[in-house]
């Protein structure tokens, strides 16, 4: 039982990271119809920048904030590339994001290095016993920060004018434009926001799993799976999708073999696409004609 709880908690911890990556996928998909395959590289950029800013002697808080800003800028650069592209078919733009991901990996390799890096936990490396299992403070921090981000996002979409404009644009672009909403600005905010959230995930995860230039490949795919499980168009579905995925992975790694851990995401992804293409928590868009 205690063992089970331990697996569950570590699954929830990593699940929240998948959720943060997955949210980025949904936010960009909703507003542009594009699947952004650079999402994992945003996670990498967040983690790697923090590591190297720390090495350069900056305090943790400053490195953290700078890393998020850098990653947001990278998100904006990607948006600019997409908006300048003469190609407007969504499949070409998705390929553009794939190319951008490869570019970012290469850039990280050159600017940073190919080594594996870690950094000290924000809250110390200690842990404590709870319900008969061990929980690190970093895990708790990840859970709290993720919950805070998701809550803030909810209020942002529900209660702020910009958030509502983003919702409107995701539901009906032309109608949103008729309301006077500047779609280009909204899209740019979406890319910056997705990158920032992914970067936060990357920084939070680094003390636990460490990071290197290609850590984004797997994290991006896991986040994508989380988004698909959640229904792709719903940021809060992605949170649930991430948690489901994290817990499944952790249980399978714990009880069967950690060899199969990464397969979980892809089996889940295929199963969802085959049997519930709308995702478990997909928006059933209410529409009466």
């Amino acid at each position: 039982m205690n063992e089970f709880l331990g697996f569950l908690l570590s699954g929830v911890t990593v699940g929240f990271i998948y959720a943060l990556v997955g949210i980025g996928f949904t936010v960009i998909y909703n507003s542009s119809g594009i699947i952004n395959f650079s999402q994992g590289e945003f996670v990498m950029a967040g983690g790697m920048s923090t590591v190297f800013l720390l090495k350069a002697g900056l305090p943790l808080g400053v490195s953290f904030i700078l890393a998020i800003m850098i990653t947001s800028m990278i998100g904006i650069v990607l948006y600019k590339l997409i908006s300048f592209s003469k190609e407007s078919s969504q499949i070409s733009l998705i390929i553009l994001t794939l190319g951008f991901a490869i570019f970012l990996r290469g850039l990280a390799e050159v600017v940073f290095d190919k080594e594996l890096h870690t950094m000290p936990s924000f809250v110390g490396d200690s842990s404590f016993d709870m319900f008969g299992t061990t929980l690190t403070y970093q895990s708790i921090l990840i859970m709290i920060v993720s919950i805070v981000i998701v809550t803030l996002l909810y209020f942002f979409f529900k209660k702020t004018k910009t958030g509502q404009a983003m919702m409107a644009a995701s539901i009906n672009v032309d109608a949103a434009r008729l309301m006077g909403i500047n779609i280009k600005k909204i899209l740019m905010i979406n890319f910056a926001l997705s990158a920032a959230i992914a970067a936060i995930g990357g920084v939070l995860l680094t003390p636990i799993t460490s990071t290197n230039y290609e850590v984004g490949i797997m994290l991006g795919l896991k986040g994508f799976a989380a988004a698909i499980i959640g229904g792709l168009s719903n940021p809060f579905g992605a949170v649930a999708g991430g948690l489901v995925l994290g817990i499944l992975e952790s249980l399978i790694a714990g009880y069967i073999s950690s060899e199969y851990k990464d397969a979980v995401a892809f089996v889940a992804l295929l199963a969802i696409l085959f049997f519930m293409p709308g995702g478990i928590f997909g928006n059933t868009k209410a529409q009466r004609v």
Partner: protein, 233 residues
């Protein structure tokens, strides 16, 4: 107030509008009638900046708005109720109305929402419900209300009667007339020619992307050609 000169527009390689010229004076209520596919929607989209014309010019209050982006057009005071209403289906009725006031930042937004509710009391009842779950008529009321929330100088309506029961159409047109009486200029695009001609001052007839006739609505109602082509007489 609005002046269109020799506008040409393509829709997916097909010529949708050719050499369309028309004008609308302040305070007028004008209609554009024509069959399905005549180019009516394309014209409204071009005015609102949702679509780039191939050539020609659109002037609003003597300002050339041909190349303006749609959000800038909206800021000038041109609102449109698009084809199919374009509601934000998974937002509530009230959120839809509030988005209508997106370009405003004065403190009378709440007041205007109450005005809309007093004109369409059913919307107050349903204010927290998803707009997409409302009946067709109620959705059209939301669409009208949302357009009014921007306090437009010029309101463009694309087929406001489409798919609605006659009694609802009457209610919607009643609201439009009240709006006209309060000084808003109105441009209605309609397939239902009889309806459009009976409420508007002047009308244009669009056929295969060209204006083929224009004039006083009452006179057009009596015109043999119009009768035969559009009034089923």
């Amino acid at each position: 107030m609005l002046k269109i000169e020799k506008l040409c527009c393509n829709y997916k390689q097909i010529i949708a509008l050719s050499d369309v010229s028309l004008h609308i004076n302040r305070g007028e209520m004008i209609s554009l009638i024509g069959a399905n596919g005549a180019g009516k929607t394309t014209l409204l989209r071009a005015i609102s900046g949702l679509q780039n014309p191939k050539s020609g010019n659109i002037y609003f209050e003597n300002k050339n708005i041909t190349k303006l982006e749609s959000h800038d057009v909206a800021k000038l005071g041109i609102a449109q109720i698009p084809e199919g209403r374009g509601l934000f289906s998974i937002l509530s009725v009230e959120e839809n109305l509030r988005l209508g006031a997106y370009i405003r930042d004065d403190n009378e937004i709440e007041l205007d929402i109450e005005k809309i509710y007093s004109q369409f009391p059913i919307l107050k009842e349903k204010s927290k419900e998803y707009a997409g779950t409302l009946s067709g008529g109620q959705q059209q009321m939301v669409a009208v209300g949302r357009a009014l929330m921007s306090r437009p100088k010029l309101l463009l309506l694309d087929e406001p009667s489409m798919g609605l029961a006659p009694i609802i159409v009457e209610e919607i047109f009643e609201a439009i007339k009240i709006l006209r009486d309060s000084g808003t200029t109105i441009f209605i695009v309609e397939q239902n020619a009889f309806l459009a001609l009976s409420v508007t001052d002047r009308a244009y007839v669009l056929e295969n992307g060209r204006i083929v006739m224009s004039g006083n609505s009452v006179e057009l109602l009596e015109d043999e050609g119009v009768k035969e082509a559009y009034l089923g007489a």
